[in-house]
Amino acid sequence: MKPMNRRAFIAGSAKTIIALPLLEAMFLTDKAMAQAASTMMPRFSFMYFANGVVEFEGSPTSMDKLTGILAPLAPYRQHLVAVNGLSNRENSSWDQTGGPIGGLGTPHETEAATFLTCSKLGSLGELRVNPSIDQIIGMSLQNKYSTKTSALVIGAGDALSGIGQGDVNMAYHTLMSWKSATQYVAPFMTVNAVFKEMFSSAPPTTTNPDLVKLQNQKKSILDAALSQISSMRTRLGTADQVRLDQYLTGVRDVEKKVNAIVTTGPACPTVTAPQDYNPGDSGQFESYIRTMIDLITISFQCNLIPVANFMFTRGNGGARSGVGGVPDDQHEVSHYADDTAKKDKLRKINTFYYSMFAYYLKKLNETMELDQPMIKNILSLYGCSTSDAQLHDGSNATIMLAGGQNLGVVTNRVLDYGLIADKPYGTGKPLANLFLGMSNVAGVGLTKFANSNAAINLKA
């Protein structure tokens, strides 16, 4: 049995603070509160919508201008940082010679897999992606705080739709979170699955003999699997060894989970199973997103995960109609050209997706943690690799950060790196700089991420 770990102790001391008589608690200064919060696990979330927005309408020039599609975010401006003009262009369809990279198509096909990895992708039959920033941060915090998983990864269930996608591996459309070059993190696609993963299984504790017994059984199964894997491995060719090693990584991750000593956060509520919604049904899509956001919020509140990652849709939105009351296919609408009717439809779709992020911020803001709104303890990123849906070339990412003030993030500002349409290759500041900055907030200790050339300082 592992000794009680550091995180269990921290959570325990946090409970003590909560348990102070009301009067004493009231005398705790903001600074003391911030200090208490600083011993908590830093948490991060990454949320994604597909296809970009109308021109640069997701990139405000000042925080007083949260209007149009950004209007739903206006009540939270003091928590927000708009990050404009960063480029993920190296990873979009056209390289410096003007040709498609690795035989891949437009950013629709590659956006999901490039967004948080900032990596060039291998072509058909040759999956090649860098680890994504959510996993890098999540794995580092998992090691430090012994959480069950590195990240809760969620994606709407249209991951496999679509016909005639040419040579592009569907994984690039649908998977945003990558542990290593070839190993993705599969999104949970249903409400039930997320609930079960996060809340329905009681964690093993040293005091519950039944749970200890189950833990020992699982350990024996894991040991047997490790021995079977190593005997099979010797008979395989190198490509098959890579496949088997992915299984091995999974077995090791389950081992970590089995050995984790789970302690809940200071304000963890009892959770009952929510209603399941089908994201493929346009009438249920909004309820699906809201319910997932509720589950993410509670998972953070209970300190179960260091990172949440939620793709509202797959890379090009899937064959999805009815978003924001617009009956048309959302991807088709994103090619608005000079069609003002289409632009208005896309604005409605964009507004819908921003209102979903606003709902998340509302939940984080309403949830109190050590007398502070939880939003201040969590750094959240929302956006996509493209700014102009019509161009969708990745040269201006649409990014909004929220919260994290207790992690040192300075909010209520715009970080502007120059919104210039269709930047020449290699001239924009890399999006990877922002991710490197976020990893600094997490205290990961990276010096470089993908094609970064300097970290963006979010703390000053």
Binding site: W94, T106, K179
Partner: protein, 564 residues
């Protein structure tokens, strides 16, 4: 060679995967039956043995070949979610339902059992652990006789028997040295009740990669060597494509005796399996993986315009194509029926789309399709709905579908600098055909769209639900005439279907399309000669769909494994 082909492709951006006219020397001769190997002692602890390096290859038809055929290589295939569910059912003798959250299969071009696309995630392993753990609990509690064959609580002999019998069936092959011993040791060393010990061992076996993956013996790496599949490997390959599950008792027996390595025995086993109702599993695989039905459950159309495109309708559409394929196989119908069948399977949901009248709640039944436009797979409403989006049909999606699925013509991404947006300066009532004509005015677009669009234009005679229409909502008449890039002209779908039914390439294309489902890899340039041999150089009217399967399992594509 393949590299050369890729280069060719990237330059021209369009081609059939097979170019049969590169005039390469044909090396392998027509020489006798396949090799084979099987262990007599299934439960013995001896090694799997190894077959002779480079055994004689199955015959190819040299008259059809201008290129060399060499054995290909299939990587480590993981059981798909359906294969796992079926295998566990047959292995454990209890009802098994995978959690819905678990059934995610990675796919490439619709195919789900290609090792290259079967990525593995920690979540999968995690869910697998929870699922297997609960399942093993069920097994020791319910104690089905097929697994718990004796009272093991106080009998080391019985423990030994249960473990070794179960291992052979779970690993689906003779055991290797130490495999049984390691699990017997685990049983003995685990501290708990006999039932807990057994649960841990059963769960461990099901959690092992030997259960989850289908391993094929590899020749030594680094050369052009190849091996014949062992009779057990043949049994597994056969069983997993035909029934999507582990081999049954008879197939295991033929593997154990080694008879399965004889082509006539292998063929007889396939014929037996094809006559069984369980062959529906193959029909489902083909509908999902070849025709693209795997994505119909998440496909949506504008719900205001098409409120009846609901789950019940999707189910009817899916069932229609599945029953159609099953019928082709079981009734030994010619390949041409895929294009020109004057029958299908219609229920009351589909009747409304076919313009037929059936009483409410009529189940799916064999139905003559009199309207020639609606005949063949291109008339199936499910296909026509899958290739539409929002409230509209799409010439491009339908054209791509027909090209990729029936003509085996694939396209790369649009060329650099090409505008993927359709012209917007046309009159408001411009037809989709006129929009595409304007798009093709740009030569860089026309290079591919001259191929993509014609079948799509022909299929404009169907609305997004597959109902026949003659005008658009603007009132404009639909012109369904089109000319393929090779100069062949059509007036409507009847002509297109007739063309396919008389095209020798169609027999070969169907062969290529079924190959990934059967062997777990995509046909490559090196398989050209094998594919031609399987299709026998015959017109689609002159060879049956079932014959393609029988020919394929006797070919080197099925029976041989190359080194890395």
């Amino acid at each position: 060679m393949y590299r050369l082909l890729r280069l060719f492709k990237s330059k021209l951006r369009i081609l059939s995967i097979f170019v049969g006219a590169l005039g390469l020397t044909f090396l392998f001769m027509n020489c006798g039956r396949i090799g084979g190997f099987a262990l007599k002692d299934v439960t013995g602890t001896s090694d799997q043995g190894s077959s002779a390096i480079n055994p004689p290859l199955p015959p190819v038809d040299q008259k059809l070949c201008t290129t060399t055929s060499v054995p290909g290589r299939v990587g480590l295939q993981r059981l798909t979610s359906r294969q796992m569910e079926n295998t566990l059912r047959d292995l454990l003798g209890i009802t098994v339902t995978l959690p819905t959250t678990f059934s995610r299969d990675d796919q490439m071009g619709g195919y789900v059992s290609l090792p290259e696309t079967q990525l593995m995630s920690s979540q999968f392993v995690d869910m697998q652990m929870d699922f297997i753990f609960d399942l093993a609990d069920k097994v020791v509690t319910q104690a089905p006789a097929v697994v718990i064959s004796c009272a093991y609580a106080n009998s080391a002999t019985c423990v030994d028997k249960i473990i070794s019998d179960f291992l052979v069936r779970a690993y689906r092959r003779p055991l290797r040295t130490d495999e049984k011993t390691s699990f017997v040791t685990q049983y003995n060393n685990f501290s708990g009740t006999a039932q807990e010990k057994m649960k841990v061992v059963i769960a461990s076996i099901l959690f092992s990669p030997q259960f989850l993956y289908r391993e094929i013996t590899n020749p030594p790496p680094g050369s052009s060597n190849y091996l014949a599949l062992s009779s057990y490997e043949l049994a597994n390959r056969l069983s997993y494509f035909a029934w999507e599950t582990m081999p049954d008792a008879q197939l295991f027996a033929k593997a154990q005796s080694g008879d399965l390595s004889k082509p006539e025995v292998l063929t007889a086993e396939l014929q037996r399996m094809m006559q069984s109702p369980r062959i529906e599993a193959l029909a489902r695989s083909l509908a999902e993986q070849w025709f693209g039905y795997g994505s119909i459950w998440t496909h949506s159309l504008n719900s205001t315009t098409f409120p009846n495109f609901n789950t019940a309708m999707k189910q009817s559409m899916y069932n229609e194509s599945v029953q159609f394929i099953k019928y082709l196989i079981q009734q030994n119908r010619p390949v041409s029926d895929i294009a020109i069948a004057d029958y299908s399977f219609v229920d009351s949901n589909l009747a409304t789309l076919y313009g037929l009248s059936l009483p409410a709640n009529s189940p799916l039944t064999f139905t003559n399709i009199v309207n020639t436009k609606h005949q063949g797979i291109l008339g199936h409403p499910g296909i026509l709905a899958l290739t539409s989006s929002g409230e509209k049909t799409s010439i491009v999606r339908r054209g791509l579908w027909a090209n990729e699925k029936l003509l085996c013509t694939t396209f790369g991404a649009p060329p650099a600098g090409a505008s993927t947006q359709l012209p917007t300066n046309l009159p408001a009532d411009a037809t989709p055909r006129e929009v595409m004509e304007a798009h093709r005015a740009n030569p860089s677009c026309a290079a591919c769209h001259n191929y993509i669009d014609p079948p799509g234009m022909v299929l404009e005679s169907f609305d997004p639900l597959g109902r026949i229409r003659t005008t658009y909502s603007t009132g404009r008449t639909i012109d369904t005439s089109a000319k393929l890039a090779n100069g062949v002209s059509f007036l409507d779908t009847k002509d297109l279907n007739a063309y396919l039914s008389k095209d020798k390439n169609f027999s070969e294309c169907v062969t290529k399309k079924i190959m990934p489902v059967i062997v777990g890899r995509v046909a490559k340039f090196e398989d050209t000669c094998s594919v031609k041999t399987i299709a026998e150089g015959k017109l689609p009217t002159d060879i049956t769909f079932r014959q393609l399967f029988e020919n394929m399992i006797k070919s080197m594509v099925f029976t041989m494994q190359a080194g890395e």
